[in-house]
C-alpha cells in the first residue's frame, strides 16, 4: 500500500459529470409554461438525491416534502398540506447542517410563497393554472412573436426574401434586429438540450444580408382614418407600418432631424450602419407614412400640441421613447468635459463629432449604452478609456459579447469602483474621476450581489473627459400637464396600449416600459396598431401566405454553434464601419440546419406552432 495516491475519477463519476452538464443545459432549455409545482417537486427529488444522509431534516424532511408535493399534484392534498409543507421546509431551512439541506428547503419555501395559487388550484380543483400557450420556445420569448422556425427554414432553403417577408409580418425592422436585437429568443432554444442555442439573430442577419430589396406588401383599401404618431422610433414606426398596411393614414411627428429614435440616435453606426437602418425605414415609409421631421410635440413656438393632434386625428399613438439623460448626482458633474451618453451618441448620429483625440476618458456605467460610448470613444481616438463600474464585470447588464468586444478594442474595465466626485481644475475642467473601491457583498432583493465600501482608499483616475452612461429618462412633464396619466416616471398605458381616460390615445415603447430593447418597442407598436385598428372599428388582419418548407427528416447530433465573426479588434477600433462580418453560405446552411423545428416536432404540431396572421 502506498502512503498517498493520486485521485482519479471513476468512469461512473465521469459519466455523472457529463450528465450534470446535460442537466444544466436542459434547465436552460426549460420551456415557459410548465407547472411550477411539478417543477418544484422534480427539483426536490434531485436535491434529496444529493443528501449525504447524516442529518434528520435533510434525510427525512426532504423526502416528506417530496411526498407532500406529489400528493398536491395528485389532487390528494388539502389546504392544510400547504401549511405542513411550509412548516417542514422552514424547519429544514433552520436546522439543516449544510447547504444541501437548507438551500433545498429554501427553494420549496420560495415556491410556496411565489406560486401559492398554483398549489391551491391543484388542491381545490385537481387542475393546474399553467398551460403551454406557445410551445415553440423562441417564438414564445420573442416579444413580437416572430415566426422564427419559419424564417430559419426559409433561410435554409435560400429563400431569403421570403424570410424577410415572414419576419415583417410581426416586425418591420428585420435589418436593425438582425444587427442589434438582444435575442431573448435564444435563451430557451430547445437546441440547448443537445449542444447550445441556434444563432437565431445570425440567421436573421443571413436573411437580410442576402435578400436584396424586398418591397413592402400591398396596402389594404384606404379607410380614410388618420392617426398621429408622436415619435419616429422603432415603436412609432412599427405602429405606422401596420396601420398603413391596414389602410389607415399615419403621420409621424419626429422631433429630431432623422427617423429611427434610439436605433439611430442611441446605437453607434459600427453596430448598426446608417444605410442598414435606412433600408428598414425606407420599406416602412414606402407604405405611405407621412413624416414631419423636426416637429416636437409640446408647448411653445414651432411645437404641436397633443390636444390639437387629438382634435385633428382619429387616434394618437405616443411613442416618444426615453431620450433624457439621467444625472449621477456627483460633485463636479457640471464641469467642462463631462458629457452624457445620450448627448455624445446623438451628436455622432447627426454627423457631428466630439474631440477625444489622445484624451483620457472615463465612462461611468455598466450597461449596453456604457459599452456603446466606451467603444465610440476608442474610435474617436481616445488615448485611454476606463469604464468605471461599481459592481463586478460579470454583474454588468451589458451583453457579454459587448463587454468582450469593448475589452478587445482596448477598453479598461475598472470594476468594483463607485465614482464619488469629479475633480476639476481652476477652469472647472475635468482633471480626474475619484472612485471608491468596493467589496462585492451579499445578494439584495433584486437577486444581485450588492457592492459595499471596501477599506481601500479612494482611487484617483486622471482624465480629461467623463461620459455618464447610467440610464435614460422620459420627458413626461408636458404630457402629464395635458392629462396623460404618468406613473413612476413612465406613461401609464394598459397592456393593450390604451391610455386610461384618454379615448383614442395609445402609448407604447420605452416611454411606457422605461428604457428597454428595440424588439420590445417594436412589439408595442404592433400591439398598438392592432388595438388602434379595433378602436377605429375595424378588424384588419395582417398575414403572409408564405409556405414554410417541411422539416427534413434527419438526425440531430451535437454540433457547434456558428457565431457571427467580427473584424479584428485592432482594425475595427479605428473606424465606425460595421463590426460584424457576413456569414458565408456554408455557415448559413449549417447553422440554419441546427434548428430543431419545434413548430413541427413536439407540441408545436399540435397546438400553437404557427400564427399565420394577427
Amino acid at each position: 500500500m502506498s502512503r498517498l495516491s493520486i485521485a482519479t475519477k471513476s468512469a461512473a463519476q465521469t459519466t455523472v459529470e457529463h450528465l450534470y452538464k446535460d442537466l444544466e443545459r436542459r434547465i436552460v432549455a426549460s420551456p415557459p409554461g410548465l407547472c411550477p409545482v411539478d417543477m418544484a417537486s422534480a427539483f426536490l427529488k434531485l436535491c434529496h438525491a444529493q443528501t449525504c444522509g447524516k442529518c434528520v431534516p435533510c434525510r427525512v424532511g426532504l423526502g416528506q416534502l417530496s411526498q407532500m408535493l406529489e400528493s398536491v399534484l395528485d389532487g390528494e392534498a388539502t389546504l392544510e398540506t400547504i401549511d405542513l409543507i411550509e412548516r417542514t421546509a422552514r424547519v429544514i431551512a433552520d436546522t439543516a447542517d449544510c447547504a444541501i439541506g437548507f438551500s433545498a428547503a429554501n427553494m420549496v419555501l420560495k415556491g410556496v410563497r411565489g406560486f401559492r395559487d398554483d398549489y391551491e388550484e391543484h388542491i381545490r380543483h385537481g387542475k393546474c393554472l399553467a398551460s403551454l400557450e406557445q410551445p415553440v420556445p423562441c417564438v414564445a420569448l420573442c416579444p413580437a412573436g416572430v415566426d422564427i422556425p419559419g424564417y430559419i427554414a426559409l433561410v435554409h432553403e435560400g429563400r431569403f426574401a421570403d424570410a424577410v417577408r415572414l419576419i415583417r409580418k410581426d416586425n418591420p425592422f428585420p435589418t436593425a434586429c438582425a444587427l442589434v436585437c438582444e435575442h431573448p429568443c435564444e435563451a430557451r432554444c430547445r437546441r440547448n438540450m443537445i449542444d447550445s442555442s441556434v444563432n437565431i439573430r445570425g440567421m436573421k442577419l443571413a436573411a437580410v444580408d442576402n435578400a436584396g430589396e424586398v418591397p413592402a406588401p400591398e396596402r389594404m383599401p384606404s379607410t380614410g382614418k388618420r392617426i398621429a404618431i408622436i415619435g419616429g422610433g422603432p415603436s412609432g414606426l412599427s405602429a405606422a407600418y401596420y396601420l398603413q398596411l391596414m389602410g389607415h393614414q399615419t403621420t409621424v411627428f419626429e422631433m429630431h432631424k432623422h427617423l429611427g429614435g434610439m436605433l439611430y440616435y442611441g446605437i453607434p453606426s459600427y453596430r448598426l450602419p446608417r444605410e442598414r437602418l435606412d433600408s428598414d425605414i425606407n420599406a416602412i415609409l414606402s407604405t405611405g407614412v407621412e413624416v414631419r421631421l423636426n416637429s416636437p410635440v409640446g408647448e411653445g413656438e414651432g411645437k404641436i400640441s397633443i390636444n390639437d393632434l387629438r382634435d385633428q386625428y382619429d387616434a394618437v399613438y405616443i411613442s416618444i421613447g426615453a431620450h433624457t439623460d439621467k444625472k449621477v448626482g456627483l460633485p463636479g458633474e457640471d464641469a467642462k468635459g463631462v458629457i452624457s451618453a445620450v448627448e455624445m451618441l446623438g451628436t455622432l448620429a447627426d454627423g457631428g463629432t466630439i474631440d477625444l483625440k489622445d484624451k483620457r476618458v472615463c465612462v461611468i456605467g455598466g450597461g449596453n449604452v456604457a459599452m456603446d460610448v466606451t467603444r465610440s470613444a476608442i474610435r474617436l481616438g481616445a488615448k485611454t478609456v476606463y469604464t468605471v463600474y461599481r459592481r463586478r464585470q460579470v454583474d454588468m447588464t451589458a451583453l457579454v459579447e459587448e463587454v468582450r468586444s469593448a475589452i478587445a478594442e482596448g477598453a479598461e474595465i475598472l470594476e468594483l469602483h463607485a465614482p464619488v466626485r469629479i475633480e476639476t481644475d481652476e477652469n472647472n475642467h475635468v482633471t480626474a474621476l475619484i472612485a471608491q473601491p468596493k467589496l462585492i457583498g451579499k445578494y439584495g432583493r433584486d437577486g444581485r450581489p450588492a457592492p459595499a465600501d471596501s477599506e481601500l482608499p479612494e482611487k484617483r483616475i486622471p482624465c480629461d473627459v467623463v461620459i455618464v452612461a447610467i440610464g435614460q429618462g422620459i420627458e413626461t412633464h408636458y404630457f402629464e400637464e395635458r392629462g396623460i396619466p404618468i406613473k413612476r416616471g413612465v406613461i401609464a398605458a394598459a397592456d393593450w396600449s390604451a391610455v386610461e381616460n384618454a379615448p383614442g390615445v395609445f402609448a407604447g415603447g420605452d416611454c411606457v416600459t422605461g428604457p428597454a430593447t428595440a424588439i420590445r418597442a417594436i412589439a408595442a407598436g404592433k400591439v398598438a396598431a392592432a388595438n388602434i385598428d379595433n378602436y377605429l372599428g375595424y378588424n384588419h388582419v395582417i398575414e403572409t401566405k408564405i409556405d414554410i418548407p417541411a422539416p427534413k427528416i434527419k438526425d440531430d447530433p451535437a454540433c457547434g454553434r456558428i457565431n457571427v465573426k467580427e473584424r479584428p479588434a485592432s482594425e475595427r477600433r479605428c473606424d465606425f464601419d460595421a463590426v460584424e462580418c457576413k456569414l458565408t453560405p456554408e455557415e448559413i446552411c449549417q447553422e440554419s440546419g441546427r434548428c430543431l423545428r419545434c413548430d413541427h416536432f413536439g407540441y408545436g404540431i399540435f397546438k400553437g406552432g404557427r400564427e399565420t396572421k394577427w
Binding site: D38, H125, C128, D555, I605
Partner: protein
C-alpha cells in the same frame, strides 16, 4: 412524382405524400393509432414509426412526407420493437377492462394490441382514476383515455366549440374540459363528434338502456305501453355493426327487430319530420309575409346540438330560430295526445322512446319546458343508434333472418321528404317542396331543389317560387355554422332561411351513430336516404295522409292554437350553462 423504396420495393408516389399514405397505396399498411386524417396528424402515439435508411431516429409515418430516394422499412426489428413497446406503454395507462367496454370489438387500441399479439407486458399498471358526472349525456372515462388528442382536435378544428383541452402538465398531462371548467358548466353542444372520433372507449354516450331492460324498467312494467320512434338517419346505420349489408338493413327489418325486442308500437320519426315541415314551412311563409316584424334569416330548430350552440354562443339570435319543436319532440307530444285519444290508451301509461343518431337529443328530452302533452315527459327516453344496436346484440337477435315488418299506424307513415331530414340539406329541401306547394298550390318536380344536397359544409341557393325569391343556405358542422353566423353579422351574406345541423353531413354523421375509426360515413348513409326518397310513393310532407288526418281531426291547421300548444316551444324558456338569465 417521388421515387422511394418501401421494404425494398420500388414505389412511386406524388410529391407531398406522407409515408403512411405511400405505404398504404403500396399495400403495405402501417398500423397507427392517434392519427386522424387532416384533423390529428400530431404523431403522439408513436405507433406508426418506421425506419429510414440513413436516419438514426425512427420517424412517425403519419406526419412526415416522402423524399426522393427514401428507403423505408415498416417492419424492421427496430420498428417491431418500438411499435410493440409503445403500445405496451399506452396499455400501462389504459384500464384494459375490455369485457365491460362499449367499444370492445370496435376499439383501435384493442385491435393493435391483439394484432401485435401482446398477451403479457412487463410494465406496471398506472391507470388514472376516473371522476365524471355519470348522469351527464356525454361520459368521459379517464381510465380509458389514451391522450391521442383527437377529441380536442375535432371539437376545435371541425366544430369550433373548444370544449376539450389539454389539462395539467408533465407526466400528469391529460385531456380535460377547457378553461378548467366542469363539463356540466360548459357550453358543450353535445354533438358527440368527440365520441365518434375517439379510438377507444374513453368517450361514450350515457347508456340509458337499463331504463328499458332492467327488471324495474319500462319493458317489465305491465302498466307501460312502449312506443318507439326511429329517426331517419338511424335506418342508414343500424345494420353496420350487426354485419348486415345496406340491402339487408332495411327500415322494415329494423321494425321487425324492435318488435322482437318488445316495443309495443314502432313508429317512424319521418312522420314527425313531415309534421315539422308543415309547421316550420308555414311559419317561414308567415314570417316572409310579415318581413318587417322578424329578423332574418329564420333558422331551423330540429337539431338540439345547434340550439345548444346558438344559445351558448349567440343568445341574441335565438329569436331567429323557428319555434317549431324537433320532429321527435313533436311526435312525442302527438303520441301522448292524439294517438292516445285515438287508440283509447291512458296517456300516462305511454312510455315514449326515441332512437336517435344523436347525443344532444338526450339533453333535449330533459328540457323542462319542452313537455306540452301534460303527461310527464313528451319523450321519456332517448337512445342512440349505438344503444339500440347493443340491445339487439344483447338479445342475440338473428336480424338477418327476421321477416320485414311495416311501421305501425297512424304515426308510422312518412314521406320521402321526411326521410331526407337525416342528411344535410334534407330539411331545407323538404321545406322548399312544401313551401312551393303552399305558395303556388302546385307540387314542384320533387327533385327540383337538388342544389342543397351534398356534403359541402356551407351550401346556398336562390330559389324563385312564383316570383318570390327565397335565399336559402344550408350548413353542417358547427365550425361552418360559426363561419356563416360571422358572415351574417358582418353583412357579407344575407339569407331568408338557413338550415343548420351540428354534425358534419347532418344526422347521418351524428354523434350517436355507429363508429368506424378513420372513416366518415355521412356521405354513404346520406345517399341511402336519397335512395329511399326516390323510391317513396309520397315525396311531399303535405301529402302524408296521416298528417292530413291529424290536422283534419285534431290540430285544425298548421300554426293553429292547438298546434302551437303542442308543436312549438319557447327556446328562451331554458338556459344553457353560463347563459345570462
Amino acid at each position: 412524382m417521388v421515387n422511394i423504396k418501401i421494404n425494398d420495393r420500388e414505389v412511386h408516389v406524388k410529391e407531398g405524400t406522407t409515408i403512411l399514405r405511400a405505404a398504404e397505396q403500396a399495400h403495405m399498411p402501417i398500423p397507427h393509432l392517434c392519427y386522424l386524417k387532416d384533423i390529428n396528424e400530431i404523431g403522439a402515439c408513436r405507433v406508426c414509426v418506421v425506419e429510414i435508411k440513413g436516419v438514426n431516429k425512427l420517424v412517425p409515418a403519419c406526419n412526415n412526407v416522402v423524399q426522393e430516394g427514401m428507403e423505408i422499412y415498416t417492419n424492421s426489428p427496430r420498428v417491431r420493437e418500438a411499435r410493440r413497446t409503445n403500445v405496451e406503454l399506452i396499455l400501462s395507462q389504459h384500464d384494459c377492462l375490455c369485457a365491460t367496454c362499449v367499444r370492445s370489438g370496435n376499439c383501435s387500441l384493442q385491435k393493435i394490441a391483439n394484432d401485435l399479439g401482446i398477451i403479457t407486458t412487463e410494465y406496471a399498471r398506472n391507470v388514472p382514476a376516473n371522476s365524471w358526472p355519470q348522469d351527464y349525456p356525454l361520459i368521459r372515462d379517464a381510465s380509458k383515455c389514451i391522450k391521442c388528442m383527437r377529441c380536442i382536435q375535432i371539437c376545435e378544428k371541425v366544430q369550433g366549440v373548444n370544449i376539450w383541452d389539454v389539462a395539467k402538465t408533465g407526466s400528469r398531462t391529460t385531456v380535460g374540459v377547457s378553461h378548467n371548467r366542469r363539463i356540466t358548466e360548459s357550453d358543450c353542444a353535445l354533438c358527440g363528434q368527440c365520441i365518434t372520433h375517439c379510438p377507444v372507449g374513453a368517450l361514450r354516450e350515457r347508456d340509458d338502456t337499463a331504463k328499458l331492460l332492467a327488471l324495474n324498467g319500462a319493458f317489465a312494467d305491465p302498466n307501460k305501453v312502449t312506443v318507439v320512434q326511429v329517426a331517419p338517419a338511424v335506418r342508414t346505420a343500424w345494420g353496420e355493426e350487426l354485419g348486415l349489408t345496406r340491402e339487408e338493413a332495411t327500415p322494415q327489418r329494423l321494425v321487425a327487430a324492435l318488435k322482437a325486442l318488445g316495443f309495443d308500437y314502432v313508429f317512424d320519426t319521418d312522420f314527425g319530420a313531415d309534421l315539422t315541415i308543415m309547421e316550420e314551412g308555414s311559419e317561414f311563409l308567415e314570417r316572409l309575409k310579415h318581413r318587417d316584424q322578424y329578423a332574418f334569416p329564420m333558422f331551423t330548430s330540429c337539431c338540439p346540438g345547434w340550439m345548444r350552440y346558438l344559445k351558448g354562443h349567440h343568445p341574441e339570435m335565438v329569436g331567429q330560430l323557428s319555434t317549431a319543436k324537433s320532429p321527435h319532440q313533436m311526435q312525442g307530444a302527438i303520441t301522448k295526445t292524439y294517438f292516445a285519444e285515438k287508440m283509447g290508451i291512458d296517456p300516462d301509461k305511454i312510455y315514449n322512446i326515441s332512437i336517435m343518431p344523436c347525443v344532444a337529443k338526450k339533453a333535449e328530452a330533459d328540457i323542462p319546458n319542452i313537455n306540452d302533452a301534460g303527461h310527464g315527459k313528451d319523450v321519456d327516453l332517448v337512445l342512440t343508434t349505438r344503444e339500440i344496436v347493443r340491445m339487439i346484440r344483447a338479445d342475440h337477435l338473428d336480424v338477418k333472418n327476421l321477416p320485414e315488418q311495416e311501421f305501425d299506424s297512424p304515426l308510422g307513415t312518412g314521406t320521402g321528404a321526411g326521410v331526407i331530414f337525416g342528411a344535410t340539406g334534407g330539411v331545407m329541401e323538404a321545406a322548399l317542396r312544401t313551401c312551393y306547394y303552399l305558395i303556388t298550390g302546385k307540387n314542384p318536380y320533387p327533385d327540383a331543389f337538388y342544389m342543397v344536397r351534398g356534403l359541402d359544409g356551407w351550401k346556398e341557393a336562390c330559389i324563385d317560387i312564383a316570383g318570390t325569391t327565397v335565399r336559402v343556405a344550408v350548413v353542417s358542422g358547427l365550425g361552418n355554422t360559426e363561419k356563416l353566423i360571422r358572415a351574417l353579422k358582418r353583412g357579407e351574406v344575407a339569407y331568408d332561411f338557413v338550415e343548420v345541423m351540428a354534425c358534419p353531413g347532418g344526422c347521418v354523421g351524428g354523434g350517436g351513430q355507429p363508429i368506424h375509426d378513420g372513416e366518415e360515413l355521412a356521405g354513404t348513409r346520406g345517399d341511402n336516404l336519397y335512395f329511399l326518397d326516390r323510391g317513396s310513393e309520397l315525396r311531399f310532407s303535405h301529402e302524408n295522409p296521416d298528417i292530413l288526418d291529424l290536422y283534419k281531426n285534431y290540430l285544425d291547421a298548421p300554426l293553429s292554437h292547438r298546434a302551437h300548444e303542442l308543436l312549438h316551444t319557447d327556446h328562451t324558456g331554458w338556459k344553457m350553462p353560463g347563459e345570462v338569465k
